[in-house]
């Protein structure tokens, strides 16, 4: 059957416009001057495009008050997200391997508990966590955010990874063992490289969660020393409470989106399915 090219492309365009219009609007906003947004600009494109907002936020002007806070938040976001991701993926890899390969009592329990945690609404935990973290002196610290981020992303990471591990034929490991590898060597040199697409998928999901998370970030922090970008952006109020600095907010949004796009572009090559093709006959 021949595909009708025109219909396909029309569909593409509709979907693209639908998805990208808000993003285009934010990008456009970020290039408008403060004065233009304050007056209520109805134009889609900036009347007088300017890099001022970027300069202000990234500290390239003499006034460092806004940029100082924003850059600190950016640093916190990167640090907390990356550490949470690495820990979550590391733990999830080991856990998922055990779940996929070993027979032990309570395996189902572990899996269903993991799923239950993933379903638990985060908001309901904010209050208890807030109290606990104050008692443990974790409030307003990096670990105070890293621990919950790691915990909430682990279930998904474990499920994703154990699915990947299950796909890898047992023989791969057995072959490695016969070839003279210890269990650990077989895991590190054969299984982990083969599960790489799964590891990257889990890493990206975890990173995005930590990077975009807002509720915990705003509740468990109190100063710019730990606040992440999503939380910090809610403090962009400007002098007039009825007129938030829209263009600066838009600029901050664009800046925090860039790392996400870069990471996806970098890793999407790694997330190719069928890396195991050629291992076994089939």
């Amino acid at each position: 059957m021949r595909k009708t090219g025109v219909g396909t492309y029309a569909g593409f365009i509709v979907i693209l416009v639908w998805c990208l219009l808000p993003i285009a609007w934010i990008v456009s906003l970020s290039f408008k001057s403060l004065a233009e947004t304050t007056t209520g600009s109805a134009h889609f494109l900036p009347q007088d495009a300017t890099w001022d907002n970027y300069k202000v936020l990234l500290g390239m002007t003499s006034d460092k008050s806004t940029s100082h806070d924003f850059l600190a938040a950016l640093r916190n976001s990167f640090g907390i997200s990356i550490i949470a991701t690495i820990l979550a993926v590391l733990i999830a890899t080991l856990a998922a391997y055990a779940i996929a390969r070993l027979e032990f009592k309570g395996k189902r329990l572990v899996l269903s508990l993991a799923l239950a945690i993933a379903m638990f609404p985060v908001v309901s935990l904010v209050g208890p966590l807030f109290d606990m973290w104050r008692t443990f002196h974790l409030f307003n610290t990096w670990p105070g955010l890293i621990i919950p981020y790691m915990t909430f992303t682990l279930p998904l990471a474990i499920w994703t990874l154990s699915a990947f591990f299950r796909e890898i034929p047992w023989e791969m490991e057995q072959a490695a063992q016969v070839d003279g590898a210890t269990s650990w060597q077989a895991f590190r040199k054969v299984i982990v490289p083969l599960a790489a697409p799964g590891v990257f998928t889990a890493a990206i999901l975890t990173f995005f969660f930590a990077w975009n998370e807002f509720v915990l970030a705003i509740s468990l922090t109190s100063t710019t020393s730990t606040r992440t970008v999503p939380a910090q952006m809610s403090y962009f109020v400007g002098p007039d409470p009825f007129n938030p600095p829209y263009s600066q907010l838009a600029t901050a949004s664009v800046i925090v989106t860039i790392p996400v796009i870069v990471i996806v572009l970098l890793f999407q090559r790694r997330i190719v399915a069928g890396l195991t093709s050629g291992a076994v006959k089939g």
């Binding site: 490695a176 790489a196 076994v280």
Partner: protein, 421 residues
């Protein structure tokens, strides 16, 4: 290189099912040993116990005189080729072959030298930088062998290595494996369900059925002197014909007529009532094309030929016959044991290509009766066995007898299983 000795090896799974039951096999240094049997006979389990991927429930596994029951696979220094090759897809062919050497901590020069040697032997030179995913089935198979020969392993273990290849490639690789083994002179244990591979490759062949060793002998001994119905039916293609027979004096009454057999054979089968006669297809011939010199120890009979398949060098003729119920039941059971599905009792006769017998003809058939075997239908035992040239037939042991008893309780009509030895 080392000899492998298996002493009363038993593998029992959690549910008590004995996958391998009291098997004793000694593989001499440099010998090519085949483990063969239909699916589920425990041959792969046995191989995996040699290499250490499967625990041994009881018995002793000795490699080079050293007991290895409790050693991890990596400490046994054996090389194995898996059925599905189990190549490492993220590594190039070069690194796949180098993998065992790298694990052993060999220097780069040593790795390079050995990998190049192996790749030259297996003609993989031009593929060294490719990934397994881009190779054909035969090439992957060779990479898997390269990974095995690159080490100085005590023995090679093959787990149905050719079953994933097409027929032509299988034939070529079979010869290649035989050549390689002869050249390296390394002890080899090779698992297959294909009796052609078993016959052509092995110095000796161990035939297994449901975890029990039936006969351990050279291919020639297995072919000429099968110890029971199962071995007789398993070895040979097309398989041996089984027909009901009654012996009186030196004459044997078959469904198509009466033939005479040599006296020493007849003596062993006197007074046993209804028996099963086993005759290989090639021991029949169209009487019209038989050399008169072949006359000794033979007989002729007339039969109506149902179907003829002419292949050029030879032809197969099919002659259906009716079998009494007790023989029929035994033959059906045998067919099930052999993973087969026979629809009718029929005689397969291999004719010379020059034979002019056509479908529907009433033909004069010549049969070499001195090659005929007679089996006891209740036990399956070969009554005419020449024990001096039948290899090793495992002795009956109590554990085996117990297992057999359980077996026959579980499914009556499998008495044949209780006969093996």
């Amino acid at each position: 290189m080392a000899a492998i000795e298996m002493k009363n090896i038993v593998k029992q799974y959690g549910d008590g099912f004995p996958a391998v039951n009291d098997v004793s096999i000694d593989v001499a240094d440099g010998e090519f040993m085949i483990l063969v049997g239909p699916s589920g006979c425990g041959k792969s389990t046995l191989l995996r116990m040699i290499v250490g991927l499967e625990d041994i429930t009881s018995g002793d596994m000795l490699i080079g005189g050293k007991r290895v029951n409790d050693l991890a696979p990596r400490d046994r220094n054996l090389a194995m080729v898996f059925q599905n090759y189990a190549l490492y897809p993220h590594l190039t062919v070069y690194e796949n072959i180098a993998f065992p050497l790298r694990l052993a901590g060999a220097s780069n020069e040593e790795v390079d030298k050995k990998v190049r040697d192996a790749s030259k032997t297996l003609e993989l030179d031009e593929h060294l930088e490719r990934k397994p995913g881009n190779l054909s089935g035969g090439q992957r198979q060779r990479v898997a062998m390269g990974r095995a020969i690159v080490r100085d392993a005590e023995a090679f273990l093959f787990d149905e290595p050719l079953s994933n290849l097409d027929a032509k490639l299988r034939g070529q690789m079979r010869t290649e494996i035989a050549r390689l083994q002869r050249r390296l002179g390394i002890t080899t244990v090779y698992v297959t369900h294909d009796q052609t591979e078993a016959m052509t490759l092995g110095d000796r062949v161990a035939v297994l059925k449901r975890g029990i060793l039936q006969q351990l002998a050279t291919p020639r001994e297995l072919y000429n002197n099968p110890v029971n119905l199962f071995v007789a039916g398993f070895i040979g293609s097309p398989p041996m014909n089984f027909v009901p027979a009654t012996v009186e004096g030196t004459s044997v009454k078959l469904p198509f007529g009466t033939v005479t057999i040599p006296e020493e054979k007849a003596k062993k089968a006197q007074g046993k009532g209804l028996l099963i006669a086993g005759i290989r297809p090639e021991h029949f011939e169209d009487a019209a094309v038989v050399d008169s010199a072949r006359g000794t120890g033979s007989s002729t009979f007339r039969a109506k030929v149902d179907v003829v398949e002419w292949l050029g060098n030879e032809a197969y003729a099919y002659v259906p016959f009716e079998a009494p119920e007790e023989v029929q039941a035994q033959l059906l059971q045998l067919e099930r044991d052999l993973d087969g599905e026979a629809l009718r009792t029929q005689l397969v006769i291999s004719l010379d290509g020059a034979s002019r017998i056509k479908e529907g003809d009433e033909a004069e058939i010549f049969v070499e009766t001195d090659k005929m075997h007679l089996f006891d239908p209740s036990t399956g035992e070969n009554l005419t066995l020449d024990e001096s040239s039948a290899g090793t037939v495992p002795a009956d042991t109590s554990t085996q007898a117990v297992a057999e008893a359980q077996d026959s309780i579980a499914s009556p009509g499998e008495q044949e299983a209780a006969t093996e030895t």
